[in-house]
Structure formats: C-alpha cells, structure tokens
Symmetry: C2
Subunit: 364 residues, 2 copies
C-alpha cells in the first residue's frame, strides 16, 4: 500500500497522482481551468479533482451553449456504493446542471463476464438499489438516460467493431494485461463512452477515479483510429483523487472493511470506524495545543473535505481551529460522525423516495 | 500452397486432412457413421466430408426424433458465394430435411469489425443477395431462422460473457494468433454457435470447411467451462474438404481468380477457367488410351464429384470411362462445363425467385 500525504487545501499534487498524470498523459487541473468552469463544485474548488484530459472541449461547449454529454456507469455487484462513486456522481450532477446530456449505464454485461453475475440478477439489483441510489445522490432522473449494456445494441456493436482497431501490444501498454475478458470489457466500455455520439458528434466528459483512466485513454486512441468511419469527438476525462482508506492508505477499499465506509452503512459501525481511523492529532494534549493538529493527515477531516461539508467557510474554520490546536482529533472525529449521520439519514430517505420513481424512468 | 492429391472414391484421407484431424481432435468420418445417417447426401457418400466432432449426438437426436439444430453463417462481403459455401449449405439442407431447427446468421458485425463494412451495407447485401442465394441453393426459407449478429442481443451478450472463460494462451493454442479483433470475432462466433440452446439445451451440428474448425473447438471448450452457468450440450462439427483450386492447389480461393469459380459467375468465363484447369489426362493420346485418365487428379472431375453431379451411378460411369481411357480430359471438361452451365442457369432462376421471398422472411 502506497502511503500518501493528503494536502487539504494546497494546490500541489501528491507524488502518486503526479506519476499518474505523467504515465497517462493527463493534464493537471489548474486554477485557470477552474476559473473557466461556472460555479465549480466542491471537488473542483478543493482540488479533489486533480487532473483532466481535454476538458477544454467541454468548457467551451458549456460557454457556447453547445451540446455535450456526461456519462458514468453502475457496476451492479453488491447493494452498496463506494465513497469514490459518490465523488463521480457529484461530478456528473455538476455537468448535468450545466446542461450535459446525461447517460448512466448499468454494466450488467461486464458484471456477468467478470463476476459471473447473471444478467437477470444484475438488472434486478440495479433497479432495486443502484439506480435509486444514484438518484438519491443527486442525479436528476428526468434528465438522465439510463441503459443496460446487455440491451444496448449500439454499445455492444461498437465494442466488437473497435476490437479490430487495437493490437494486443497496444492493449498491454495501456492496461498492463491482455486477458481476453479484460480486453472485451474494456472495448465494451469504449463503446459506452462513445455511443452517445452516434446520434450526434459532440464533446463528452467521463468523470472517473484514477484507476479508470486507462478507459479514457483507450477510447481516445480508438477515436483517432476510427476517424474515417466514425469521426467521433475525442472524449474528455475528469479525474478525482481516491477517498483514502481510514487507516491512511491511498484508497478506501472493501478488502479492508474496517477502514472502509460504504453507502449505505450502519451509522454506529461507520462512526466506530472513523473513531479508530488515522488522525492528525499529536501524541499529547500539550503537544497538540503547542503544535496544532495536522488536518492534512487526518482521515476524519478528509471525509469532511471530500464528502460531508459543502460550505468552504465552514470547512476552513474547522481546518484552522484544528491546525491551531483548538480542536482535538477527537473533535474532528465527532464532527465527521455527526455529518456522516446527517448524510446517511438523508440518503436513506432519498433512496426510498427514489425507488418509487424507478418504474417511471425511461431506459434507452 | 500445399499440394493435395484428391482421391475421389477411396476412403483414405489425404495427408493434410489427416493432420487436421490430429491437430484438432476431430474424428474420422467413417463408413459405420455414414450408415447411421438416414439418406446420406452426396458429400457424405463420397467422403467429401472427411471428419466430424461428436456427430453421434446429432445422429441419436435424428434417430430418437429429439430436438437438434443446424447452424451456419453468411459473411456479407462480396455479392458472390464461394463453392466451399455451397458444400456447407448442402449439409445444412440435409440436416434441415432430417428435422433440424435451422439457423442462418448474417455476420454483419464481424464484417464491420474485420472488413470495415458498415452494418447498413452488410445488411443490404445480405438481404439483396446472400439470403436469396442460400435459399436458391436449397434452404427451406419457411424452416430457417435468419438473424443478424448486430441485432441479436443474446449472441452478443454470450460473446462478451465467454471472454472471461478463456485465457490468452489458450486462445493462442487454438487460433495461432491473439489479436483483439480475432479474439472478439471468434467469441462472437462461439455466441452464434451456442445461442440456439438458450431456448432449449439440445445437440447441434455446425457444418464447416477445415479452416473453421477452431471455432468448433473454442465453442466446445467454452461449453465445458460454463457448465455451472449454462450447461450447454457440446455442439457437433462436420467438416468438408475444400474444393480444390483449378490449378490443383488445396483450396479454391479468390486470391487466384483464374483458378476460382464463384456463384454466380459468367458461364463462359467459368468454362474457360475449367478448360485451363489442371487435368488428369496423359501427355499423349496414345498414352491416355493405354494408361487411362487420372480422375483423382482432375479438377474438372472434382467439380463434378463435389458439386454438379448428384447421381452416383452417373458419376461412377464417367469415372470409369475416364480411367479406362475412353473419355479424354477434354471430355471431362466439356461435361463439367455443361453441368456448370445447367447449375448456374438454375441458380440464377432460383435466385430471382428467392429475392421475392425475402420481404416475407421471419428474422429473429
């Protein structure tokens, strides 16, 4: 596990993210770009978004009121959502508010191929949990086109057609692996990323976590190689940092359940995990008062920053008081727990409401 | 090009076909198996079919009047049919007559992926030429389910799902290549081969030329690896020899147009090619009369045997008279030309008639 120092307000990038930018040809998410985005969301303002690819295309579409799209997916495996997914949905919601045609795909076919989940079961889970959860997290269901990979002719066709456009060695260079299952699911994702353009060529933004960046790269390669037949516009990527593991690791993961919070989750259990989490407090009370806390190393503070406090001033105040030694690490954990409780209760209420909307959704 | 001696009536196999049987684990097409097939067609009787995989499953289904299926495909590239395809259709027709549920797929998605043919163009060509041609060659349109790969949800889904069931190394062992385009189109073909069983698990026979045998092998491997999720019946393969090139090469191919006859083709041109073809005549008239002709090396005779003479007695008579030196190689070419003319005229007439049927066909 790579250890990463989290810097809550600074604009420099931690080493791992810098490496990612270098390896995948991403562009840094700069202040000047943020200024071009109308009403940037908290992830943008706080540089939880650390990089992008070609986002200027989407920025210009927003500015000139031209068509563009935003797309993300649902992996209907467990009836849980990862906090990283919450970040992606927040970004999708942002672009939806800016006028993006919004697509949310259910990766039922990938779930079947890679996890042996039957299409029926994937469909059932998506309808009963994931789609309502995405709505509960803020997507406007009336402005979102949902679809299932398994019933989207165009996506599947594109996946097969794209297969001829990439060699095994190129695939290896992008993904580091060449197993057929991996190849096919990646080509299917390229199909997802580009199919909205079949109707109309337009810019599109795919907000993802760092581990999904190869898909953006592959899609862009494919666009370049299918110029003569498709002439797609190169899709743009937007990359958020991981939500770190509560033990301070780079990425929160279900493989370490004691350091991972999912949505939904039993509130008491989640608070217990937060309380056991890695903090930025000093060794003694005296030391803490003298040197101040270290919000940049504090996982509870990171949760507040990435997920639970919307208001920058409120967050800044907590940050400053913690750093000044006025707030103790236990205080930060209390606040995180309180805000998480508020969030989870609100989510559960919205989830139940959203479930009632599902039957009226339009699927493409 | 591997040179192959064609043996018209003998039951032994030429070296290349023997090798194929060894490499792909095929079973020889034996007299005892032929006896189990009701009213074997001329390809079976004449051992133009040289091997099979597990055909006993289908033999038993015929015998016990159980459900089984036969499947073949159309590659809608040129508006021409290969003589090798004619052999496959003859076998499909045989099994259709024995009660097989019959499926003919249009490989429009493969054509798009591997040859850059748009789905629209592939569809158009299949409807205007290939499907009517298959009907003209004897398929009963009322008993045949046609479909397009690009619109068959199940086939495409199976292709993606199967991708997880095979490693790159296994793919290399079967196909000798590992390019993503090849992987995807082969998995799609496995989807084609197995999808009829989604409705009902049953034996099925896929008549193919030797170069298609890897697809049968892959499908059977996949059946073994998806026992727990699908429990398909292992599909059977039936393998016909190639129609040799008119210059005596192993396989007739469009890459040597002067040695290749397609359906349809200008009759005069086709006859000219036959007359220039490799013959089994001796160097001089005297020698020919003394030693007799060599039907086993005669490409015109091979055409009669594989394609144009249905009646075994009639073919045997020509064979015997040629071998006895009573018929000259020019005579065999004349007969081949005459029979080809009859066939082409009949085909053209039936093709026009079949075109009128297309609008009333049911597609699945």
């Amino acid at each position: 596990m790579v250890k990463v120092t989290i810097d809550p307000w600074g604009s420099f990038l931690v080493k791992d993210y810098e490496k990612l930018i270098g390896n995948y040809g991403l562009e840094a998410f700069t202040d000047s770009l943020i200024k071009k985005l109308p009403n940037p969301n908290k992830l943008m303002r706080r540089k939880i978004i650390f990089a992008h690819t070609d986002l200027i295309k989407v920025v210009n579409a927003i500015k000139n009121k031209k068509d563009f799209y935003a797309l993300t997916g649902i992996m209907p495996s467990l009836e849980q959502i990862h906090l990283g997914t919450k970040l992606v949905i927040e970004n999708i919601k942002y672009f939806q508010n800016q006028g993006a045609k919004t697509y949310v795909l259910v990766a039922d076919l990938e779930a079947a191929a890679t996890r042996g989940l039957s299409l029926e079961e994937g469909r059932k889970r998506a309808l009963s949990f994931h789609i309502p959860a995405y709505i509960a997290l803020g997507l406007n269901p009336k402005k979102t086109s949902f679809y299932f990979q398994s019933t989207n002719e165009n996506v599947k066709n594109l996946g097969y057609i794209f297969s001829k456009k990439i060699t095994l060695n190129e695939f290896r260079a992008i993904y580091g692996t060449t197993e057929p299952g991996r190849i096919m699911s990646s080509l299917l994702q390229a199909g997802d990323i580009l199919f909205p353009q079949l109707e109309k060529r337009m810019p599109g933004v795919i907000p993802v976590g760092p581990d999904q960046s190869p898909h953006i790269l592959l899609s862009r390669d494919i666009v370049n190689r299918t110029r003569s037949s498709f002439n797609f516009v190169l899709p743009s990527g937007l990359y958020n940092k991981y939500t770190p593991s509560l033990d301070g690791g780079l990425k929160m993961s279900k493989s370490k359940p004691e350091s991972c919070i999912t949505i939904p989750e039993d509130i008491e259990k989640a608070c217990k995990k937060i309380r056991r989490g890695f903090s930025g407090g000093r060794n003694t009370l005296e030391e803490h008062k003298r040197l101040g806390g270290m919000p940049e190393k504090d996982m509870a503070f990171e949760l507040l920053k990435q997920h639970f406090i919307e208001d920058d001033k409120k967050l800044q105040k907590i940050h400053n008081e913690y750093k000044a030694g006025k707030l103790m690490s236990g205080d930060i954990k209390d606040i995180a727990c309180k805000e998480l409780t508020k969030f989870m209760k609100d989510f559960n209420k919205k989830l139940e409401k959203a479930k009632n909307i599902v039957p009226s959704l339009k699927f493409i």
